[in-house]
């Protein structure tokens, strides 16, 4: 069998590999699903790790991280998972008399009840306010145990998107787009003179003149390509 680096906690003794991959100066240890990460004794299980027969197993592809006694995987690619308070851009997929069904790019559609809508309306008047196919800037209010989520449009700046364009990027690239303390995003807005709203679900609302919007789109695509080239595993 062709050899490849295997991340095992029991390979990383205090003598051998300092205190594990996170603290060492070595390149990050990449793991694939199913890879054995060592004995689970004394370790807490984080994201992307499960315990099977007393052994830690990776369930996702990515970088293994060890933070104290907690072991987790920083996945190379993952689907957006809603959390309460997230600012998201949703696409209205359907509606009933008092509810809109909103695609927020998560594994499950969110609902927007009439009571949390942008304006007061009569029962049955949902479609006259936000029609199917329209985009909205909203906030995740609640995520239930069954993963159903509720979004709200009550809040500062939450609105129906009437102009500009919405671009998609992978949610894990948002950090790269926004930069340290929002510096990169601020620079992008200044350079292109566009309004750029980066939502947590990886959708970017760009509004401004045509040339500026085109420039933002070009930069977003360039950033995705650069991230792909730079990421170990080639996925971005």
């Amino acid at each position: 069998m062709k050899g490849w680096s295997v991340a095992r906690l029991d390979n990383m003794s205090e003598k051998g590999n300092a205190a594990g991959p996170h603290d060492s100066q070595q390149a990050p240890l990449l793991v694939a699903p199913g890879e054995d990460l060592g004995d689970s004794e004394g370790y807490e299980v984080g994201h992307g790790v499960i315990v099977m027969d007393g052994r830690l197993r990776a369930t996702k592809q990515g970088q293994m991280k060890k933070d104290g006694k907690s072991v987790s995987i920083l996945p190379s690619r993952t689907k957006y998972f809603p959390r309460p308070g997230d600012l998201v851009i949703g696409l209205v997929e359907g509606c009933t008399n008092n509810i809109w069904f909103v695609d927020i790019g998560a594994p499950f559609n969110a609902i927007l009840p009439m009571s949390l809508g942008p304006a007061k309306m009569e029962f049955g008047g949902t479609r006259s306010v936000i029609d199917i196919g329209e985009a909205i800037l909203c906030r995740v209010q609640e995520v239930e145990e069954t993963h159903s989520s509720v979004v709200t449009m009550k809040g500062m700046g939450l609105r129906k998107i009437r102009s500009g364009t919405v671009e998609d990027i992978d949610p894990h690239l948002l950090g790269r787009l926004i930069g340290r303390q929002g510096k990169a995003l601020r620079q992008l807005k200044e350079d292109t003179e566009c309004r750029v709203v980066a939502a947590e679900n990886g959708r970017i609302w760009i509004d401004g003149d045509f040339e500026g919007m085109l420039e933002v789109r070009t930069r977003l695509r360039k950033m995705t390509a650069e991230a792909k080239a730079a990421t170990p595993g080639g996925v971005a």
Partner: protein, 239 residues
Amino acid sequence: MGYGDVQMIDENGIRVDGRKAGDVRPISIELGVVPVADGSCRMTWGTNEVIVAVYGPMEAHPRKIQRQDRAVLDVRYNMAPFSTSDRIRPGFNRRSREISKVTSDALESVVLLELYPRSKIRVEIEIICAEAGTRCVGLTAASVALADAGIPMTDLVVSVASGKINGVVVCDLNKSEDNYGEADLPMGILPNSGELSFLQMDGDLSQEEFQEAWDYNMEAAMVIGGYCAEALKNGGYNL
């Protein structure tokens, strides 16, 4: 001359394509070949070529297919009309329906579907070029594409087929061996745990021959599992 009379392995144990009994055809794996998909993989295995695209997890439509406690895995295996020398009529047929079903069942045992209740994961397997063992290539590529999409899984699934030609058990049958051979044993193996998620058998094997084919499949699956893991870490693999 009957099927059994076709000479496919010589007295030195060398097969028609120059391989020894336990050798696997060359494999290459490329990731991210379908940019619009959440995860994708192109795998070439000998002359076989397959592209797999994974979409989701997403809201399951129509609602009647939703499961309240877990996601559903919607696997579609399809052979392109130009994938073989005889043109294949486009669309679903009995064979593709059966392979879609067994592939879905094999993947369900490793994908953590209970994390995404009421949703759907769509796996599209498209055979571009077929030369025996397409269900094995399709299943292996599908598990790599699922991992590429960031779907949580307890293990990869690697599928290999061994069989019998001229009374000799060999690993990874090619087209002529598959057509004129005496038996075929495709298996889906979890390379990290050594467990089995899928097994089919066509033809007759004695208990000893079955054990030999089993051992060949297990050994090959461990090697190919290493290639798949390497591909996921490095963005591709080329043997």
